[in-house]
Symmetry: C2
Subunit: 313 residues, 2 copies
Amino acid sequence: MTKIKQICDYLNQNDNYLILMHGSPDGDAVGSAYALCRALRALGKKADCACCDPLPRRYSYMTDGVENTNHNYEHILTVDVADPKLLGGLRKEYGDRIEVAIDHHASNIEYAELSLVRPEAAAACEVIYDVICDLGVAIDKKIAECLFTGIATDTGCFKFSNTTAATHRIAANLIEKGIDAGEINRIMFDTKSFARLDLERRVIEKMEILDEGKIAVLVLTAEMQEGLTPDDLEGINALSRQVEGVIVGITLREKEANRFKASVRTYDPVDASMICRKLGGGGHIRAAGCELKMPFDEARSTILAAVREELSK
Amino acid sequence: MTKIKQICDYLNQNDNYLILMHGSPDGDAVGSAYALCRALRALGKKADCACCDPLPRRYSYMTDGVENTNHNYEHILTVDVADPKLLGGLRKEYGDRIEVAIDHHASNIEYAELSLVRPEAAAACEVIYDVICDLGVAIDKKIAECLFTGIATDTGCFKFSNTTAATHRIAANLIEKGIDAGEINRIMFDTKSFARLDLERRVIEKMEILDEGKIAVLVLTAEMQEGLTPDDLEGINALSRQVEGVIVGITLREKEANRFKASVRTYDPVDASMICRKLGGGGHIRAAGCELKMPFDEARSTILAAVREELSK
């Protein structure tokens, strides 16, 4: 029996579900949880969603009308959760009771009794889409909004290289359910807080372009981060690699006095993880990070030396 | 006989084509022209492409290997051209000889002997995709790169509301031809000149947020535009409407002393064209413009008064 068939049998045969998301929930986490919750309710099941952190206000169109019923939860599921550590404050209560995990992270540690993990899926919502189809639940407009949101946000609106032909075909099917995809995309991608825009302005102002334009260095001092939410800071690192010609973007973010998080983003052929591993960090080939416990000038020259060594190869 | 069948018969029966693009060519113009040119050559036909303006360097992967042969052009086609006026310097020589126009602008003035205009298509490349399929030409990787580029650029990477289920399905088919869609998207959407980034910084710095956050005013003085290319300025207006809560974004761009182009972008329910029409301009419901021949302070208060009148309705 295939994994997805096992999951559908399990969902059909049981009742009283709680669906858990990871902390700092993004569009794919909220979309996966609420799409599955709505589908289970459409089957006549009891289902609620839970997260250790509050859901950002801009996701409210996905959660509208799905109030938690706080029934007696018999079966615990997770969606888009690679590791129970990511459940934050909910881990203690539910971490050992997870029966089903539906995910798309290759790094999923297979902590659930039954795991459906598809690393080739761009978003957990792609996997949830297949589960809902296999359950035989008709995808209504609200479910389609949830699934579309997860797919759009995890692919940078179909921009990143994780976007496959299958991703586009699912998006096509969801658009045919009558959703206003343009409006969802506007909320997700074209709406910024003024604080975020102002942060971008200050980051660009301080940006250094070095080594004939191949390296960009961004700095986020503690003072620049004052009063900002994690949402305001999300993805700001990406600015470093956007300048035409730059192949290594470095972001130095001050965590506290004399402690900096260095994020390194690269383009072919530079290996970001090689740069960060030298300094005790790690990551992927195009995005990696390390921590530098030293004053700013030293942190800057340390990471620059590691980058230049890799560039000269 | 359907229009597309007529076009395919015409293309099959003739030879020695010149395909014209509009001036200031964008990704859809270049993608449409070079996809069709490559397809016609695959059929053994002679075909070249022409534009009154140089093609931006970032589109070179579409034109690579398609050198113009400067043969004797017997048949003139246009792609993505709503009006022969848009041919610029090529209009004089070819404006009266256009036999076929393939386009997606509802505003196409039907100037060709045979026009295939599909306003429901998000990009001219969607229409060209159907033409190439109907011609029976196998879409190779290079043709797929051209078509994908046009579709991605005209939809803001599948973000805008012109993106349909059909758009996503064509994208899926093109990705299956082996293109590196992530890399194309990176070049089109995640690469900015430093001059552009710096302009954004200066625009945000001067941005005014008024009327409890409902109105944003951007200013582009002549001094801020010095040394910038049209590419650097493209789409800068969109910044005005990106701030959370803003429903009317105004951009005042200084064209010369005491002459400003006002661009108005709105969200539901504000009608931008109503605002601009009062001041002698016009446009669409969400994006309109007008010219204000007066000093800056007067231009600012004039457009603000018109916006506030519309907002108070």
